[in-house]
Subunit: 331 residues, 2 copies
Amino acid sequence: MASLKVPASVPPPHEDAEQLHKAFEDADLAVNILFIIRSSGWGTNEGLIISILAHRNAAQRNLIRQVYAEAHGQDLLKDLDKELSSDFERAVLLWTLDPAERDAYLANEATKRLTSSNWVLMEIACTRSSHDLFKVRQAYHARYKKSLEEDVAYHTTGDFRKLLVPLVSAFRYEGEEVNTMLAKSEAKILHEKISDKAYSDEEIIRILTTRSKAQLNATLNHYNNAFGNSINKNLKEDADNDFLKLLRATIKCLTYPEKYFEKLLRLSIKKLGTDEWALTRVVTTRAEVDMERIKEEYHRRNSVTLDRDIAGDTSGDYERMLLALIGHGDA
Amino acid sequence: MASLKVPASVPPPHEDAEQLHKAFEDADLAVNILFIIRSSGWGTNEGLIISILAHRNAAQRNLIRQVYAEAHGQDLLKDLDKELSSDFERAVLLWTLDPAERDAYLANEATKRLTSSNWVLMEIACTRSSHDLFKVRQAYHARYKKSLEEDVAYHTTGDFRKLLVPLVSAFRYEGEEVNTMLAKSEAKILHEKISDKAYSDEEIIRILTTRSKAQLNATLNHYNNAFGNSINKNLKEDADNDFLKLLRATIKCLTYPEKYFEKLLRLSIKKLGTDEWALTRVVTTRAEVDMERIKEEYHRRNSVTLDRDIAGDTSGDYERMLLALIGHGDA
């Protein structure tokens, strides 16, 4: 369930677009008159930006962008980029993007040297629906004139490549049908390979990257029943192995995405110094999907609400933006 | 260019559907009266079936199927299956299917033990456009309640799996942009790996399975210029290696599909005993795509037209069906 709160009566997109444009104009005017400290209340009206964008769904945001471009001959994202800064800017930009475009952007970033992240690639590949992942691949073509799998394959090596390329290329079947015989035989294969510590064996990769989530769930349940341990427990023996960590996270994303995201949020907040990139990514990508479920999980696991932890760890417009997206306060 | 000939004025779909239904009814009536040899002119009216179906494009055939099902509560394909037989039946059935459904059917057949074929899988993956291949994957979900890559991964092993799974999962970029630096560096990688006889090296697989066809073409042109031989010539050294053969065919499909299909047709006809499965597959899958180009190539390479070779090697309704599809005679 989404945490996004959209008001009962949404203004027409041209009104939203005009308000946003005015939010920027205040700034231009201010800059022209005299050098003013932004936080003084002059300058860009961040509150107005939050009050509009953080309370519009993807279709509504797309319409606003469209109308804005028609009226002002400029991409709203470019103007946001010009007027905002730091963590708040990243949150607003990521949120304003269409979900498929946003994932394409994050995935592309994750293949670049300085911002490379196998985790982000895995997360996008495993927690989106098959059709949504395909839309990401289409958006990737349109924006980068290359394919997603092409960049992932080029920028990864070894076991990571073996796992990530089929993950981002998958178009998993999404029905609920389960083949019990197959679940049993593949649980056995997984157990054998893990017992041999052949963690990157092609059979493990094949099963995890091609089976439907329902089938995989049946296989892992059978694993647990037949061998007395969850697969992730058996994969934990070597705590310092990065590939093993990614493999465990892959399994979690495919079977319990809300637990995966809860942990990611927890670590990003409890770290010495907040990991704003992870925090912003999770909030902006899940607010319209399953953030309510993640908040529930977070509360259960930490005995404190996510709202409270975010409020305690962030500040200013960034804090206000995140809290609005996770459904704190009224639309 | 397609070889299919559609008449200038096409009857409305319900008329076509009625004609087809009548073509079957003649047979039922005949069977009821007395035991008659089919070829006597009684029984199912094969000529009528050819005159309609072999001259309707995919959208028109879909409409006929739809109208037929509404009028008779039965799938046209089921009735065709009941009334027709042998090579003619397979040609009519494959042709009548929607292209994505047909490819899904052929690919599924190619993963079954008795009809398994790495070549068919490779052919479908490499000669369809990225969007058409994606439609095949969607049709596969709908029809088999599984994913294409799931079946391919499950039913293949070793080097063949390493090549085929990414091939069928690819969503290649289709623009014409080419990165010349990359073409040079990847030509070098290919040459090094081939010199080392590391034919299934993951870098070879990566380049062939992820790069756009335009980029791959640039890379292989550079290979030829820099190393004095085409890549396929260098891959020919070990003539009996099945994986090498498949690798060469993959490269041909990605860069010169009409040459690949010409050769397939040539071998299927010149064989001791015609290979009707290959012949039917190429004719039914290419008639609406690039059969004119393939015929041109065939004529050039064999100094005889494809029409003549097919007429010389096949007979009866099967011959008439194939000739109609490759554009022989009027619509």
